[in-house]
Amino acid sequence: MRKIQSTAVCTALLALFSLLSGCVKDTCKHSYTYTWFEPLYKTSAEVRANIKSNPATDIQQPGKMVLLGNYIFLNELNKGIHVIDNSNPSSPKNIGFIDIPGNVDIAIKGNTLYADLYTDLVVLDISDPTHVVKKNIISGVFPQRYYGYAYLSGDSAQIIYDWKRHDTTIMEDCSGSRQIYPPIPMGIYYANATTSMQNGNKMSNPVGITGSMSRFAIVNDYLYTVDDMYLNVFNITTPDNPAYNGQSLVDYHVETIYPFKDKLFVGSNNGTFIYNVSASPSSPQKVGEFTHARQCDPVIADDTYAYITLHSGTTCLGYDNELDIVKLNNLTDASLVKIYHLTSPMGLSKDGDLLFICDGTDGLKVFDASDVNNLKLIKQFGGMETYDVIAWNGIAIVVAKAGIYEFSYADVNNIHELSKINIAN
């Protein structure tokens, strides 16, 4: 009897497996929701004709900024430059906008402003910041900003001036290679905002103060720019007619450049590289480097130390969020002095013994850095997500998610907010 039952079970099992064999299947459905941006074009002639002082527009996606005198020149990512009258830091006024599609970086010397327009370098006379005058456009000097994507118009005389946002969801099976990436502009996601204090040049043509996230730097008669791999040199002895002097390989994933006296501090994902420009400004010589785990790392420096913030993130890779302080006495052997763990540090700035750090969602932190081995937190402004800061002459200008803030630190014991320009949603 048991034999009959076993046979019956086996037969039934075989029958069942035969029936269900078609069902033994691993399936994976994949839905991919992403944002992509459709480029909107203007002709080159239209774009160039519009590089002038236009009415002020809302700040929507602020990038790097440069301070010069009473003015803040603030990049609107890939669109142009806001001109802000900061003669009264308690009440800054957005007074104009210069349309420069593809603009990410800015540098200023005297009355001349240098800005990138995708692959081109634009030279503007800003003697009157309310009526800037286009002086020159040097074509093709930033080839890494070329859009090699299919979305680029086949007509080279057309320039992307804006992007139309599209939110899209596609369905596919998981084996499908979804390589439908949004048309990410090359360079943009590596180029980050604002500047530093640097230089201290006492000259008739003062150099605009840039932030720690800048990729443009001016030392004396030279404009230095970095792209993803190279340090580029322009001779600006004739301000309106920059002459390209060539480039030198720095590293992969170069992010920022910070000038201090006769040195350039170039930050890459892998470390900080120190160049001397005093002997041969047209051909900077690498004199030292400090390497670290792969991270995004804006850097600033003073006479003795370099201050490097490392933060993790998607393209930054890595997991560390910290401030590294590196001693520079012997540039060829820069050595790590101390690490301070932070939340998500990005831009930073230093004025005297005060060190300002944008620490992501933790806001702005102000440290007493008189003893680098024992930084003391003096003040923290929370409730805002900060990105970059320039501290200069008692005023700290901060780019944050919600707006452009100004803080007074003239009295260290009473650091307080002066004003805020809101960012339009």
């Binding site: 099992l13 064999s21 399936t27 994976c28 994949h30 839905s31 980050n192 998607t314 960012i423």
Partner: protein
């Protein structure tokens, strides 16, 4: 998880009381299972506890399922015994497949900022036989077809100058139909 455990405990206790009143038996069926899938094989374990009355068994089961992502199915189990000695049976399971919190996306998902797993439906149908041991205990063998779903949602934040940066979302729905072979003890 604690709530689920308490519910199961309460249900088991209720069944014991009911069993005593109606003279029906409480049974526990514990089995290891070998899962044969399209792309790989895997192991699992199940414990089903319930009441048997005449030719029927109703219970609640829970277990582990390591194919392809780890999960903890909790399900209702219904069995029908046939034959004079009730040594043949057919069963059906229907329930929910809870995700293992330790799960991480596999190699097929190569880029993300964060991820979130979510469970899904769990079913199992099959037939089997049980061989009597002493004192109304049995060894059971069964074979059937098991189906489970599990979901993964990943986010990828695109680096940008000032937040909010654009975010990409990926949803993966895994549906796995497997042959399941079980061996266990029914007591």
């Amino acid at each position: 998880m604690r709530k689920i455990f308490l519910i199961l405990l309460f249900t088991a206790a209720e069944m014991c009381v009911y069993a005593q009143k109606r003279k029906i038996t409480f049974r526990s069926i514990n089995a290891v299972e070998y899962l044969i899938g399209q792309n790989a094989d895997g192991w699992g374990f199940q414990s089903v506890n319930g009441i048997a009355w005449k030719n029927y068994f109703t219970g609640i089961g829970m277990g582990t399922d390591y194919y392809p992502y780890n999960s903890y199915p909790i399900f209702f189990d219904q069995r029908i015994y046939i034959g004079k000695k009730r040594s043949l049976f057919g069963y059906g399971n229907l329930g929910y497949n809870f995700n293992d919190k330790k799960n991480k996306p596999g190699k097929e998902i190569y880029y993300y900022s964060s991820y979130h797993f979510r469970g899904g439906v769990y079913t199992d149908i099959g037939i089997g036989m049980r061989i009597p041991l002493k004192k109304n205990n049995f060894i059971t063998f069964s074979g059937g077809f098991s189906y489970k779903e599990i979901y993964i949602k990943t986010t990828s934040i695109n680096e940008c100058l000032v937040a909010p940066c654009t975010v990409d979302y990926n949803n993966y729905q895994y549906a796995n139909g497997r042959v399941t072979l079980k061996a266990g003890i029914d007591f």
